[in-house]
């Protein structure tokens, strides 16, 4: 298929990339840009491991056609840590609260939590649960994750 060029902002950097229009955003991130922080858990939009933030909203990148990224602001897990290596409060909280076991769901959880906290500084417990309802975790049982997000919200 003919390659096309798209321009979008990725983790605050403007990117001009040649893409195959049949790709998903997830494919571009992992296979082409080799940013493997975002995971493919199911490919159907059901597990949330592929969550990225597009224009402020959490989105499943496995269902996002790459051409639709044109002109948008995309943030991935790679863009969450600060440039000098300091963890974001959400990441810090997840580690401190024992909310990371195998770690496969963690990037998705961080992105969902970040999308929530960027929008609502003081989310209720129900808000937090709603924000991660599309992120499956097979290891932790979610309680520590919710506590971590609560403490990250309190700290901000």
């Amino acid at each position: 298929m003919m390659k096309k060029e798209i321009t979008f902002t990725l983790n605050n950097e403007v990117m001009e990339v040649e893409v195959d229009p049949g790709w998903t955003l997830l494919y571009l991130l992992r296979e082409v840009l080799e940013m493997t922080g975002t995971k493919e858990g199911c490919g159907y939009g059901e597990c949330g491991a592929c969550t990225v933030i597009i224009d402020g909203q959490a989105v499943n990148s496995c269902l996002y056609p790459v051409m639709e990224a044109e002109g948008r602001k995309v943030t991935t897990i790679e863009g969450v840590m600060s440039k000098n290596g300091e963890l974001d409060p959400i990441q810090e909280a997840l580690v401190k609260n024992g909310a990371v076991q195998c770690g496969f769901c963690t990037p998705g959880m961080v992105m969902s939590a970040k999308a929530l906290l960027d929008e609502k500084e003081r989310p209720s417990e129900d808000d937090i649960k709603e924000s991660i309802e599309g992120n499956l975790c097979r290891c932790t049982g979610y309680v520590n994750i919710i506590d971590a997000i609560k403490s990250a919200a309190g700290g901000r």
């Binding site: 998903t24 949330g48 969550t51 959490a58 499943n60 269902l63 996002y64 056609p65 969902s112 599309g134």
Partner: protein
Amino acid sequence: MQEAVELMGTLGNAKYIAGGTDVMVLFRQKKIAPENLISLRNINDLVYIDKKDGLKIGSAVTHTAIAKDEFIKRSYSALNDAATRVGSLQIRNVATMGGNICNAAPSADTACPLLVLDANIVIAGVKGEREVALDDFFLGPNKVALEKGEIVKGFHMPQFGDNTGSAYIKHTRRQAMDLPMIGVAARITIKIGKSKVRCHDALCTIDNISNVLARLQDEELEIEDARIAMGVVAPRPIRAKQAEAALKGKVVSEKLFREIGEIAMSESQPRDSIRGEAWYRKEMVKVLVRRALMRSIDRIIRPDDTIYPERLW
């Protein structure tokens, strides 16, 4: 929008894509294989929430946008109930109501609320626009009355007054990211015969539901109009028209609601599936129709409350 329709006319093997949460999945499952995708995501003509003269919602409005609208939450509550429970937050951020309806799963959450809110669907094609009642739009599982190349432009609902309330109950095994086992929507318009204050008091108790309904019965709430719609009990979302007719003109009472539950149950034809068995779904129709009607009444009498008790009966 015109460009999209014309483009569809010129391309051979093409499909519209808006949020993509259904189309991309069908692609993956190899159920469809279009050569071209026409993106509707950035078409402003299809993104509108117009609140004059009823409610008009563009087909490309996302579920999140509908969920956040306070006017829809208050006056078209069943739609808010559905839009907040579709899939997950990530899905709702991009998925559009137009897509939810055009994909026409028998379990489509926004279908039942739109049916009870008397929605018409506006369709645009090369020959111009036409408006169809939503009830006539669903033809079967994943089949809708769209000619080749037509786009759904939006949904129009009439204006309702303060004496109308609606609710949608999505019965699921999980709290999120689940298709409903059955979905029931109701809309009811009542005339309060006696005291609204006493109705309010009756609904504010945590008393046994029979006692609450006995007190409501004393206040003579006459049902001027009612709609009931059910999902996952037939190959497409359906209205329980016999139950609706049986409600009209009657006074709200426990006996009436029990009868209505039975009538609605008789109008449903669920099947066994991995999500639930037919006998259970039929039983739940009986229960959820009553609960949806009660919640609709709660919303009429107590419109400013944000949480309505789960009246378990």
